[in-house]
């Protein structure tokens, strides 16, 4: 399969990239890992006349904690999360996620930022970032702005990014002590999108109540879904079996899946209930250990 012809741009600075995007407008697509964009171009589901390749811009691949946030740069690859001791020990939710995105070869190129900026409700990082209460930094011609992840996904394959903006950084609040997270995904095979998946992040109080709860759902709606009613049902409560069961049911109620080859909507809704239960239990276990 051959993509339609396009003009290729390889800026070497963010300023050059945003100025190019400002000039080219909707006719340009940003190329980072390319593991979603290039397959779409090969299928001619999208045929941008201009491709702006940001891979030549130095300083965009990093993973570090600074000023209260875990900061993930625009060109940080999924495989770098997997290799990171920081992620493995302090961000178990992200460590779970980076092991189940596509396959190891795709993860060698795919970027975390691209997984968000693509706006695909079937991608895995959106639910995780919703659960973690992250924010993204967008840089455009008029400067930089910070967008809470909860208002980032505006529609299927649509985000709050403007045509001239690049997602330059993801900021995840550094978790408090007694925090833990987990990602539970059912996929038909390695490399498939989720039939459904659930991301959970919790922080426990000294008394064992849920001080912070974030729950995000993958591929059960037109956008990634934050299960806010399920979160509210847990907040301030001791997460015993009845409380977990109620929250899991509320998470299932907030899912809006459709029938497809991966299963009927009714099945996927119940899957969300089961996966929420399991993800909550694992996240709570991990939180209790810290």
């Amino acid at each position: 399969m051959i993509p339609a012809a396009f003009a290729y741009h390889a800026p070497t600075s963010l300023a050059e990239a945003t100025s190019l995007l400002g000039k080219l407008g909707d006719g340009a697509k940003v190329l980072s890992g390319g593991q979603s964009l290039i397959p779409l171009m090969k299928l001619r589901l999208t045929s941008p006349p201009h491709v702006v390749d940001i891979n030549g811009i130095p300083g965009l691949a990093y993973l570090k904690e600074a000023d209260g946030f875990l900061r993930i740069g625009a060109l940080t690859r999924e495989c770098e999360l997997d290799d990171s001791e920081l992620i493995r020990t302090r961000y178990p939710l992200l460590h779970d996620v980076c092991k189940v995105i596509a396959d190891p070869l795709v993860r060698n190129l795919a970027t975390v930022a691209g997984n968000l900026a693509h706006g695909d409700p079937a991608n895995d990082h959106p639910a995780a970032m919703l659960a973690l209460g992250a924010e993204v930094v967008a840089l455009g011609g008029t400067g930089e702005r910070r967008i809470p992840i909860a208002s980032f996904f505006t529609g299927p394959f649509e985000t709050a990014l403007r045509a001239d903006e690049i997602l330059t950084e993801i900021r995840v609040p550094v978790p408090a002590p007694k925090s833990g997270g987990a990602y539970m995904k059912l996929e038909r095979k390695v490399g498939d999108f989720a039939t459904a998946a659930v991301a959970v992040q919790v922080t426990l109080s000294a008394a064992g109540a849920c001080e912070y709860v974030g729950i995000g759902l993958t591929n059960v709606g037109l956008t990634p879904i934050q299960a806010t009613r399920a979160e509210a049902a847990l907040k301030g409560k001791t997460p015993d079996d009845p409380v977990i069961a109620e929250a899991a049911q509320l998470a299932a109620d907030s899912a809006e899946p459709s029938d497809d080859l991966r299963g009927p909507a009714e099945y996927k809704k119940d899957l969300v209930r089961v996966l929420t239960t399991r993800a909550l239990r694992r996240a709570l276990e991990r939180a209790a250990r810290r």
Partner: protein, 156 residues
């Protein structure tokens, strides 16, 4: 657009259309046909090559993105007329039937063994989970990688 790259230690300079995929540059322009095109949809891994040492699917990368980079293809495994222990392993353990997935399996395993010289069976299965084989069911492929690991660790 002009692209300068190094494949298997040899420098190449070619003029390509931006939409040319890396796998087509490798096979059709440079005539290194050891790299295969399987699914052409980022699923099968038959087109795996090393980009700066990391295995990637060359059907999902534009040739222009490899400008200035170091690549390695399956042709680079053999050194001075001597097969690499992985290639020996695939022969000794019957790690292939039709052979279509083999170049991808070899390149993924090559990069994997450099990082994990003493892998468990689970580690190997995990590493090759982005490479599909429709003949063997992976058992002999795993044995072939173990064979190579043993040789590389001085066991043969």
């Amino acid at each position: 657009m002009q692209v300068d790259l190094t494949i298997n230690g040899e420098k190449h300079q070619t003029d390509v259309e931006p939409r040319l995929l890396l796998v087509h540059l490798i096979r059709d322009v440079l005539r290194l046909t050891g790299t295969h095109i399987g699914c052409d949809t980022t699923h099968c891994g038959a087109c795996t090559v090393l980009l700066e040492g990391r295995p990637v699917k060359s059907c999902t990368l534009f040739a222009v993105q490899a400008n200035g980079k170091q690549l390695m293809t399956v042709e680079g495994l053999e050194q001075d007329g001597k097969l690499h222990p992985l290639q020996e392993g695939f022969m000794a353990e019957h790690g292939l039937q039709c052979g279509y997935c083999t170049p991808g399996m070899l390149m993924t395993s090559f990069a994997f063994l450099q990082k994990h010289p003493k892998p468990s069976e689970d580690d190997i299965r995990w590493a090759i989970s982005g490479n599909l084989c429709r003949c063997t069911g992976y058992v002999n492929i795993v044995k072939a990688v173990q064979h190579a690991a043993a040789t590389l660790n001085g066991g043969a």
